[in-house]
Amino acid sequence: MTTMPSYSEYGNHDPVLPDPVDPANAELPIDVDTRLTLFRLQQEIRLFEKRAYDLFLRGLVKGTSHLSLGQEAIAAGFGAAMRPDDWTFATYRGHAHTLARGVPMTPVLAELLGRANGLLGGKGGSMHLTSVEHGVMGSYAIIGAHLCVANGAAWTAQYNDTGQVAVAFFGDGTTNIGAFHEAVNFAKVWNLPTVFVCENNLYMEYTSIGHVAPVPNPAADRASAYGLESIVVDGNDADAVYTAAIAALDTARNGGGPSLIEAKTYRHGGHSRADPGKYRPDEEVAAWMDRDPIPMYHQRLLGLGVDEGRLSAIATQTAAAVETATQEAIDGPLPDLASIYTDVWADGGWQWRN
């Protein structure tokens, strides 16, 4: 008799609760300036994305949008750890990673609104944020591909011996697609300086990762298949992420080849703007909301003796920056329709015939 796996009801599976915070992370050797940067980056992403969400509700953001609310510590940890000339490869859930590399808020928000002053002049939209100038080498909306593309940048670094590293972010659900396998394997075979970072937020779109992956840690439990070390970090703790990032980046820079890091986290909202996220057990949502990386990090900094005033100043500055960006984005003109016909080719045009 062949049997189907037992089917736990939708939205009614066992809740997956967060581990308690490891107090040792407060002891990690990270200087206060870096910690303040980590705090600031998380704040920026949080406030920016909350605003983006408000603007959806006001009907100003027309397409889809995928927020990282709750997952900010990962983008911040890597943003602070990466060298300015390192490369980020993000997914459709890429606002956080774009901001974390220093891209200003206005062009990002204007892009979400489809304005001419958008980062991509309105041609890319929320899912394709890119700023080559800041090392943000694209946000990719079809699962898996960008892991392969990141290897190519890493290859350039290896070829030119520049010490640059390519970092690719992706989700738990992505570990099931073929391109994930090809990319990680290829990076190891070619010994490329690529760091693969799985943000395991426990769900693909609406389906629990436990339903669709046969191992508890969908990235880390597969590392050995590529001769890599299994690495799991607390993705809600910026210090833990930062520390793991520094280690993996150093390894890559020094010819030690790729790493695969799995960061456990949770998104506060739904998968995309269309999704209320009702498939998640209440208890699970509540437990993870209690593990919100930002208040937690705020507490940590206070515990480490940082002055509350410095933290609230960062929050205030960030809020002001969001206001400015909002105004500039809303004031942005619509793109020139002629831009439909630009930039297919490197000559700036689109001509396919004479």
Partner: protein, 327 residues
């Protein structure tokens, strides 16, 4: 007569076929528990249970491989590929395996399966979630290709696709999902016929051939052209393979002028195929150039203002025809 959205027509069509034949099964990503990201498959899990309506990992090759292997051994799978752009990640299974295996095995195997996928623009999703790729499928021998424009056609053509013994790629248009249509009351199952185009508006001066969302725009354009004294016949192609060339050639014989309205980018679209058939077989019927109105050969931009100016609009159809048609 009931009102039904195109979106609900999809789930009604699938439900009808699951009820009709115990060998029909349905799989895809987020289709069961979640009812699909377009909410076009809600209620199916509840009605038919997890054995017949099944969620899959993000593994499009595995999904279509499973559909193929199941079809060759007696099931009749319906597989969802969430966005038609993603056909590219499993194109080998579609174009090299499913399409060719019956032929290569001299007919030893059959592949009664349907691949449903959300096609087309208008949702401001950008270049990787908005493509119209029905021409990719049409270009591969061994695939049947269907793209309905109304709720009734969605039910009937989906049923025909599921009951067809060959593989069918079924393109649902994202911008049609929310549209409401009258569906006549009907005793028993609604089952249409593949390979049949429909004259959805009669006319005498020009023939407009369109597909999916573009049918609605062509109809609106025909209405406006009537105001300018041009009588346009509008044909909803519905099925690219098999192709109802008789209906198209018949119309051109009457009007002597052909326009195609395509959402796929310009080069090698289905419009080029139909234009070429007409330029060969109805050449002596033609009173003027065959004109294709298409999305220009560029990837689709994301911003609403740009996207609307890229895909053929009612205005562009009216202007192009008014400028070039005799009246």
């Amino acid at each position: 007569m009931a009102e039904l959205t195109y979106r609900d027509a999809v789930s009604r069509g699938i439900a009808q076929e699951l009820a009709n034949d115990p060998n029909v099964v349905f799989l895809g990503e987020d289709v069961a528990g979640a009812g699909g990201v377009f909410k076009a498959t809600t209620g199916l899990l509840e009605a038919f249970g997890p054995k017949r309506v099944r969620d899959a990992p993000i593994s499009e090759q595995a999904i279509l491989g499973a559909a193929m292997g199941a079809a060759m051994t007696g099931l009749r799978p319906i597989a969802e590929i969430m966005f038609s752009d993603f056909l590219a990640v499993c194109w080998d299974i579609i174009a090299n395996e499913i399409a060719k295996s019956r032929y290569m095995t001299a007919g030893q195997m059959s592949f009664p399966l349907v691949i449903r996928t959300a096609n087309g623009g208008g949702s401001r999703f950008g270049a990787q979630h908005s493509q119209s790729v029905e021409n990719w499928a049409m270009a591969v021998p061994g695939l049947k290709v269907v793209a309905p424009s109304t709720a009734l056609d969605t039910i009937g053509l989906l049923a025909a696709a599921v009951r067809d013994p060959d593989p069918v790629i079924f393109f649902e248009h994202k911008s049609c999902y929310p549209m409401k249509f009258d569906v006549p009351d009907h005793d028993g199952d609604i089952v249409d016929e593949l390979g049949t185009a429909k004259v959805v508006r009669e006319g005498t001066d020009v023939t407009i051939v369109a597909l999916a969302l573009m049918v609605h725009r062509a109809l609106d354009a025909a209405e406006r052209l009537a105001g300018e004294g041009i009588s346009a016949e509008v044909i909803d192609v519905r099925s690219l393979v098999p192709l109802d060339t008789a209906t198209i050639l018949g119309s051109v014989a009457k009007t002597s002028r052909l326009y195609t309205v395509e959402e796929n980018p310009r080069l090698c679209g289905w419009g080029a195929e139909i234009a070429s058939i007409v330029a060969e077989e109805a050449f002596w019927d033609l009173d003027g150039p065959v004109i294709r109105i298409t999305t220009p050969h560029v990837p689709l931009p994301a911003a609403d203002s740009l996207e609307d100016a890229t895909i053929p609009s009612v205005e562009r159809i009216v202007e192009t025809i008014a400028k070039t048609a005799p009246n």
